[in-house]
Symmetry: C3
Subunit: 261 residues, 3 copies
């Protein structure tokens, strides 16, 4: 563990626009870009690189040492927000505009793209790959070897498993393709493939591959119908899926236009 | 984020019976009633009002700023206990005798009555309404728009969802009526109504309304029988429900007498 | 709550090999063996005994006072690692080589043997008994009165319940015998017995006793076959269970030889 004294308020190389709360403990080796703000009681270890205008809230620990990635930094992209009580290991990389909830834990060797809102109490076990514009809600557990595409949604308590014969050494993470939606408390069994624009119902246990555009549900999950047959509950005239034909909040204007919403 | 220096041990207006740990950071704007105690490493923001004789344990962050409720304070009633590592946003209100577990997170615009014991690692997403004498166990997730009556019980890992067509903008929270019991790991789907004195079995997925006094179970949940037909496992001579005919711990004497236990 | 000032860097009786971070708050009554290291922003209460060469990471609170075990210390065995943001009450005892994840919470009157790796965000409700060489993954919830043998595995989101008639005062914890495996998101209902070398499938709801060596699965769980009939997914020539005939990582050499792997 890094053993610096607290209240390191200036670094020789630190830009004047960087703010470090006097109670925060920040390694002089950490690279803080202009406009970075480090909150109260934070602990920033050596192997950390934070992009400009990123805010780290209170009680966060960034760059926790890892024997599995001893040379690799934690990289947090610009314009990000790490909410309080969160923990990131060294050796993971996030693109611009990461926005976490609170009490988030991220182990080493997680790689994620840009524009990633990530819910409170989520748990990333590392050794996984995540695309751009993914959104994960609260208390999501991402096991090792998971592969998540772009524009994917994971709702509360979703669990991605990876060991078909627990305990074993041969882990197979689920693969979730672009635009797929995994509803609350669903469990994906090791190695399943969830196709593009597929939709998984709440509380499902998915042990089979789900083809692109299909809706699967149940425990064990079965394919029910094309997701495009589902209608909005409060307005059955509107198709619920593909969701990006009706939902645009938080996406860039040019993307939304390409989706022709 | 509030940027006060630590160790603010006195406020001009502070009652002598208030204790603030020297490592806590407390905004001078926070309103602390007589007998309030603030633990080590706490962070108390501007918009906070704490009732008398309330104890805030270590590592708690109260009044986290919210863009959705910028003018509203966090109000914690008198005689409350917030256990360590918990987080409350501004703009939520709790009555007297709140007692939380650890690592609890509460977002803005949660309104709860009095006498609320609330379990470790629970997650309140805000924009919800909770009655009096509710008890929620650990790792409960209360989605936005949830409405919970009085004397309701939620057991570990219960999940209240709200989006019938995820992702969408039209959220329908579940409604749980007085005295209802939701057993462990049950999921309530968006907008369902759980009637007064109804009982939901463990691990159920509830997608239908459950009438008052009924027992529902399964995934998907079906109505099984009247809850009053269930017997105590260790003493079948005693009806298990309505539970308030046989269980009185923690309720005021006059209430218990009215329940004629 | 203990109300010491921070930065207690020396105790009269403290061995020179003990390291206490200057921001940690450590009761002079706590017993720290040689080689103990206390991380930043820790809070160590009076009733704590930590074995030699044990590391406590940042933001940990050890020995949280408990009215249910006011005289009993928290005992952490030698060569242990408590990862950051964790919380242990007084009155629990762990053998040597405990290794926790982050944000772990342990209430009073938990008794565990040696060599216990225990995952991030797990929640031990106390009043439970755990053997040697148990491994629990992340976000596991161990209810009161649980009894767990030796060499048991619990995977993410497993829930052990204890109240057959919630709410009631008569709790029956599950009993899990040696070498049993409980896969992800399974729920054990109150008082069930999981036999030696039994295997429970992911997302199961177990309301019946499972005999030794059997594989049970489903919601509600039914016995499917002998666990020894299951084959490794990536190599069907190998039996998956008993797992200790094929999996040795982390166990002492003499044990593994006795298992004749």
């Amino acid at each position: 563990m890094t053993r610096f004294l607290p209240s390191i308020t200036t670094h020789a190389s630190m830009h004047t626009s960087v703010f470090i709360h006097p109670t925060a403990i920040v390694s002089p080796a950490a690279k803080l870009s202009p406009g970075v703000s480090i909150g109260a009681f934070c602990l920033i270890h050596d192997q950390v690189e934070i992009g400009e205008n990123t805010t780290i809230e209170a009680y966060c620990e960034l760059g926790h040492p890892s024997a599995l990635a001893p040379e690799l930094p934690l990289v947090i992209g610009a314009h990000s927000l790490i909410r309080s009580h969160s923990l990131f290991y060294q050796g993971s990389t996030f693109g611009e505009r990461l926005a976490t909830g609170h009490y988030v834990s991220v182990r080493e060797l997680t790689t994620a793209g840009s524009n990633f809102p990530l819910g409170t109490k989520s748990d990333f076990q590392g050794h996984c790959r995540i695309g751009n514009f993914v959104r994960t809600h609260n208390n999501v557990h991402i096991g090792q070897k998971s592969v998540i595409g772009n524009f994917v949604w994971l709702f509360p308590d979703v669990l991605l498993t990876n060991d078909p014969n627990p305990p074993s050494e041969t882990l197979f993470g689920p693969v979730i393709e672009d635009f797929a939606v995994i509803a609350s408390k669903a469990t994906l069994l090791p190695g399943v493939n969830i196709g593009e624009h597929a939709v998984i119902g709440a509380h499902s246990l998915v042990g089979i591959n789900i083809d692109a555009g299909m809706f699967a549900n149940g425990s064990p999950a079965k394919v029910i119908c094309k997701a495009s047959m589902l209608r909005m509950k409060n307005n059955p005239a509107i198709k619920a899926y593909p969701w990006n034909k009706r939902f645009a909040r938080g996406y860039p204007e040019d993307l939304v236009q390409a989706w022709s919403i």
